[in-house]
């Protein structure tokens, strides 16, 4: 039942996304601009860790893409609530978890597709990395997108006023991006900033993808990255499902 319902809803949302090329390609624009106009500045700089500048920047941009893209996923549910589509579906016997997973899987697929485009664009810029490492990177993008999209839907359902949603997400996403060292590795940071950044779960993800891009798959950094990514996703989907179950229980 859950699998069938999830596949059904994934199909519906995927078709809606495919009908909107804007939605498909717009998300890749910001990281692409960083790649083109920021990436070349780093090529000669000492970045404090192994790997050339592209092997350090591209993993950061991949996660930036997931971070900003998936955090705003909740907007679509605010619209669906407004149209009455969300309640219409909740009146049917469809699995509550499928209502969440159908969307989240569409989001993960969309952001992995954008990640592929970004990596393809990075190759002529000078990126060289092992294929396995690149695939591992896509895996992290998928987990990060799924986790953040789940949290974004939960937040969108909790907020009483939809106009609070955009500012709330921006306020959370900006420090998350800066503190996880997506643009420049935290190896460059002074001690206090390095400590603070270790409190940010995304830091472990980006460090792990950077390891993968230089062909290191069995290091502690990779292990921490995988554990944090899986833990974050499990937590986020749990929070999301709870919120979907009780949706509508608040006033308004």
């Amino acid at each position: 039942m859950l699998l069938r319902d999830t596949a059904l809803l994934f199909g519906r949302y995927a078709r809606q996304t495919l009908r909107s090329p804007f939605q498909i390609f717009f998300g890749v624009l910001m990281p692409l601009l960083y790649l083109l106009f920021f990436g070349p500045l780093l090529t000669g700089l000492p970045l404090g860790r192994e790997g050339d500048s592209w092997q350090i920047l591209v993993p950061g941009l991949l996660l930036q893409l997931g971070l900003f893209g998936a955090s705003f996923a909740g907007f679509s549910i605010i619209m669906e609530k407004g149209w009455g589509v969300f309640d219409r579906m909740r009146v049917t016997p469809v699995s509550r978890l499928a209502l969440l997973l159908g969307r989240v899987l569409r989001d993960a697929a969309l952001f992995v597709f954008q990640a592929v485009l970004l990596v393809l664009a990075a190759i002529p810029m000078g990126l060289r990395a092992p294929v396995v490492g690149i695939l591992v990177g896509f895996g992290f993008v998928a987990l990060l997108s799924a986790a953040l999209a789940s949290l974004s839907y939960a937040l969108a359902l909790k907020l009483r006023t939809p106009q609070e949603f955009g500012p709330a997400i921006n306020t959370l996403a900006m420090p998350a991006m800066l503190l996880s060292g997506l643009m420049l590795p935290m190896a460059l940071a002074p001690g206090w900033l390095d400590v603070v950044s270790h409190l940010m779960p995304f830091r472990y993800l980006v460090d792990a993808v950077r390891e993968a891009y230089i062909g290191h798959y069995t290091t502690p950094t990779m292990l921490y990255g995988v554990l944090v990514a899986l833990g974050l996703t499990a937590l986020a989907v749990t929070v999301g499902t709870r919120t979907f179950r009780s949706a509508g229980a608040s006033l308004g």
């Binding site: 319902d5 059904l8 519906r12 809606q16 009908r19 669906e80 149209w83 009455g84 589509v85 309640d87 219409r88 579906m89 909740r90 009146v91 049917t92 016997p93 469809v94 009780s246 509508g248 229980a249 608040s250 006033l251």
Partner: protein
């Protein structure tokens, strides 16, 4: 055996300025095949009551059985037997009429072929066949309402809940919708619970009406019985007598505007 029975059904919201008792305790019994009109002033708790009976909102007090299943213990079973059309409808502007009907049937467990057949059948039944491949924003108000209704009827529910089904419709579309509701009951024995502000609507359609005010049931009778009980010639007079909201005296100014 009633198809809906509630005892003390209540819902309190936690608002910013303390608890808000939207529904204080509704006792309601609906017989199978009955058309029940739920009336009441704005804010009386009609929509909140419907949202509880349709499993969208968990009650904070009381008990209810809908279509043979306990609302709180087994909402999933209730969902399989009821249909609900919200006041604002529930159509996605990105979708076509056909895809909405097919998805809805699939959400109720039909396989692909069954869902496609059911979509055709519903469209034929509700005069939507010509419109199947249009996107929903291209429909007129009356056509949208028929599609909303078709969505609620996808799984041939035993109980259909309609929240202000004719608000915003022109007189012709309203009469069509009334005929459709009567046909559902006469041909399929469907129980219909509808809320409305139009007193002529319940007068023409409902076997029985329940007036809700400030979150409780304040009157319950057939339209003729209610008029007789209050010595009223119109349902409007009876309604105003029950809810105590007569025409405002000319010399009073509103407290707040």
């Amino acid at each position: 055996m009633p198809i809906i029975s509630t005892a003390g059904l209540a819902r309190t919201f936690t608002g910013r300025n303390g608890p808000v008792e939207a529904v204080r305790g509704i006792d309601l019994t609906v017989r199978p095949g009955e058309i029940l009109g739920l009336l009441g002033p704005n804010g009386a708790g009609k929509t909140t009551t419907l949202r509880m009976l349709t499993t969208l909102l968990p009650p904070t007090g009381g008990t209810a059985t809908v279509a043979g299943h306990d609302l709180v213990e087994n909402p999933a079973a209730v969902r399989r037997h009821i249909g609900y059309v919200a006041q604002s409808g529930g159509l996605d502007p990105q979708e076509t009429v056909r895809s909405e009907l097919v998805t809805q049937a699939r959400l109720y467990g039909q396989d692909r072929a069954g869902a496609a057949a059911r979509a055709e059948e519903l469209a034929a039944d509700l005069g939507l066949t010509e419109l199947l491949d249009r996107r929903t924003p291209a429909l007129s108000g009356g056509q949208r309402r028929r599609l909303d209704l078709a969505m609620g009827l996808t799984h041939r529910p035993e109980v259909l809940f309609l929240d202000e089904p004719t608000t915003g419709l022109d007189p012709g579309s309203r009469t069509d919708l009334w005929a459709l509701v009567r046909r559902l009951r006469d041909e399929h024995g469907t129980t219909v619970v509808l809320t409305t502000h139009y007193l002529d609507e319940v007068d023409a359609l409902a076997d029985r009406l329940v007036i809700v005010d400030k979150g409780t049931v304040v009157a319950e009778d057939s339209p003729a019985g209610l008029k007789a009980a209050h010595g009223a010639t119109t349902l409007q007079e009876a309604f105003l007598a029950v809810t105590g909201r007569g025409p405002a005296p000319a010399d009073t100014t509103p407290v707040a505007v």
